[in-house]
């Protein structure tokens, strides 16, 4: 087009004194930003194609590259920001729905950062996790109201099936298709080594990964891709996906171009066809319908596996969770509005749903008020960014957390939020064989294991500081939390006091 209504977001800066023209940047950029002009012996960059994934910066052997924000600015306007204007130009050009990837990047409040943790001083002793035992093991699933014993001391109560986690962290649902096989393998191997679980997402389970079944949560979503007997039997638990934090109320669409042979076999759909997950499950229009699917899946797995129901955090989440708890589900997973995605309409991602902190607090309170908290475990997702967020989530009432974005960061993702293009330079959100091989699972799984070990150490340190020696004793312990800079209403919803109180 002769007129460029909007300008590139980034500027590729090359320090010519440092550049040795090794062309690694050129070879590693799937967006074809860099090129070498042999005639002039010079490296050229086309900033217009750059998505700021930082791949070239990361591999440049002489640190010659920097990606900076393009200093070019439209006339300052607090109402019509440059981004909003650019989006209008793009839509005027294409007539299409704007697509985005990963979680909501807007400046909404992050409640994790407005909550502070307690520590023991004088009147109760802190615990040193390096010297004293500290328990981060948790069990997810229904907990019996009471336990009966036989005369010989053995338990005489039917214990419902549970998931045992060595630490209260799991890898959230990311389908094979939305992420690469190597990314999946990294997650599966890490979960197995760590004694936690990863989640297949809605894309079925690749035949090579059945061996990781004991550490796999298999998902049943509205598209029902890849769901059959062996799939359900392979997993340690079955998750029904009702919604996703990044795009509540809408389904999914994996373009036909990504449905290559392996994915078509795994998803059980013809090669090259679009994989469309409908917005609703066409057989679920009520809690009673949900109950039918929960029990169909339990029946299919001989009541040996817990069933998880995953929903997006939306306005009436507490009542919805109460319904799910009564539907027979063992675990409720709630995904906040910051949750990631491989592709979502920008307007939905940025404007639909509620913060996970508030959703979690209100769900936990509602289930406790109704006396059914023991009927379900609560797993929260949607931007758990650090071990501190994990500790705060548990103190607000969660049993465990799902991490997706943090796990992808461990694998190299730099949150350029361009997954929908399928040209992930880090080999994560792509199916192009030359890009997929950039993620070596031998390296990837170790980085994931390192991350969770690091968080586990930090969780123990924080719990120890509070004088608490197990996750079980921290759960729902909101007295350990104080808010800063929050309104009365926010504190009321979170069920915590303000700092200084």
């Amino acid at each position: 087009m002769a007129i460029n209504y909007y300008q590139p977001l980034y500027e590729v800066m090359r320090d010519r004194d440092r550049c040795i023209k090794c062309r690694a940047c050129e070879r590693q950029c799937a967006n074809e930003v860099h090129s070498y002009d042999e005639e002039c012996d010079v490296m050229i960059s086309d900033s217009r194609q750059c998505v700021d994934c930082q791949r070239c910066v990361s591999i440049c052997p002489t640190n010659a590259l920097k990606i900076a924000n393009n200093p070019n600015t439209f006339r300052q306007n607090s109402n019509w920001s440059q981004q909003i204007m650019t989006e209008v130009y793009k839509q005027a050009e294409t007539g299409g729905v704007l697509l985005s990837a990963m979680g909501n990047p807007k400046e909404y409040p992050v409640y994790w950062d407005k909550i502070l943790l307690n520590a023991s001083q004088v009147t109760n002793p802190p615990i040193d996790p390096l010297r004293e035992p500290m328990e981060t093991k948790v069990f997810l699933g229904k907990k019996p109201k009471n336990v009966k014993f036989n005369k010989d001391g053995t338990i005489n109560t039917d214990l419902p099936p549970t998931l045992e986690l060595s630490t209260p962290i799991m890898f959230s649902a990311m389908s094979y298709g939305s992420i690469s096989k190597n990314a999946h393998e990294s997650l599966a191997r890490a979960a197995t080594e760590l004694g936690i679980y990863y989640n297949t997402g809605e894309g079925g389970l690749h035949k090579d990964f059945y061996k990781y079944g004991p550490n796999t949560i298999v998902q049943v979503a509205s598209g029902r891709f890849g769901v059959f007997r062996d799939y359900l039997e392979a997993g340690a638990a079955v998750e029904i996906k009702m919604g996703q934090g990044a795009k509540p109320g809408i389904g999914g669409h994996l373009p036909g171009a990504k449905i290559l042979e392996d994915i078509s076999k795994t998803r059980m759909i013809p090669m090259g066809t679009d994989a469309i997950s409908p917005a609703p499950h066409h057989d679920i229009y009520s809690i009673e319908d949900l109950r039918q699917l929960v029990f169909s899946l339990k029946e299919a797995t001989c009541y040996k596996k817990p069933v998880i129901v995953k929903i997006a955090a939306v306005h009436n989440v507490a009542a919805i969770a109460s319904g799910i708890a009564r539907s027979g589900a063992d675990i409720i997973a709630i995904d906040g509005y910051r949750g990631g995605t491989g592709a979502a309409p920008t307007r939905i991602r940025d404007n639909v749903g509620i913060p996970i902190e508030l959703a979690l607090a209100s769900v936990d309170q509602r289930l406790r008020d109704e006396g059914i908290r023991n009927e379900v475990s609560i797993v929260v997702a949607g931007s758990v960014r650090s071990s501190a967020d994990v500790v705060k989530a548990i103190a607000l009432g969660a049993d465990a957390v799902y991490i997706g974005t943090a796990a992808l960061l461990a694998l190299g993702c730099h949150l350029c939020r361009s997954c929908q293009t399928g040209r992930c330079n880090w080999g994560i959100a792509t199916q192009r064989p030359d890009l997929v091989k950039r993620l070596n699972p031998d390296i990837g799984y170790k980085r994931l294991v390192n991350l969770i070990h690091a968080w586990d150490h930090e969780i123990k340190e924080m719990m120890g500081g509070m004088g608490i020696n197990s996750v079980e004793a921290l759960r729902g312990n909101r007295l350990m939390l104080r808010g800063v800079g929050l309104t009365e209403k926010e504190l009321e919803v979170l069920g915590i006091q303000h700092a200084g109180q």
Binding site: I20, R27, Q28, D41, S58, P61, P433, R438, D442
Partner: protein, 144 residues
Amino acid sequence: MKKVYVNEDWCLACHLCEYYCAAANSGAGSMIKAFAGGKKPIPRIKVEEGSGINFAVQCRHCDEPACVKGCITGALSVKDGVISCDESRCVGCYTCVMSCPYGCIVISEDSSVIQKCDLCLKNNNGEPACVKGCPNGAIVLEER
């Protein structure tokens, strides 16, 4: 003996090993200095690519090395399984270049002597520069 191996599944053909190798053996001390002023030091590792398969090749340190057998001056020798070249004895006849079945022996910048991988034992890199610099763990130093 530990040798350098390449797993073609993970080789991305980024060619960075070539640059890390050339810089390490240039004696310049840094990558920028090694290539400063348009210099092009020659690497002892070469990435072969095409048809979707890529792999880096350098001296295999063969048990029965044709290069050592063919060397007319005794510049090439095997010590503890590592084949290295005494450049003061090399006369640049290139017999080894022609006899190496892997094409792993290269000619120096001024064409006077040959150069080959000696597992970075002669420079101060510590471990083979290609192994250290590979961004995807495709090049490994291990016992097989």
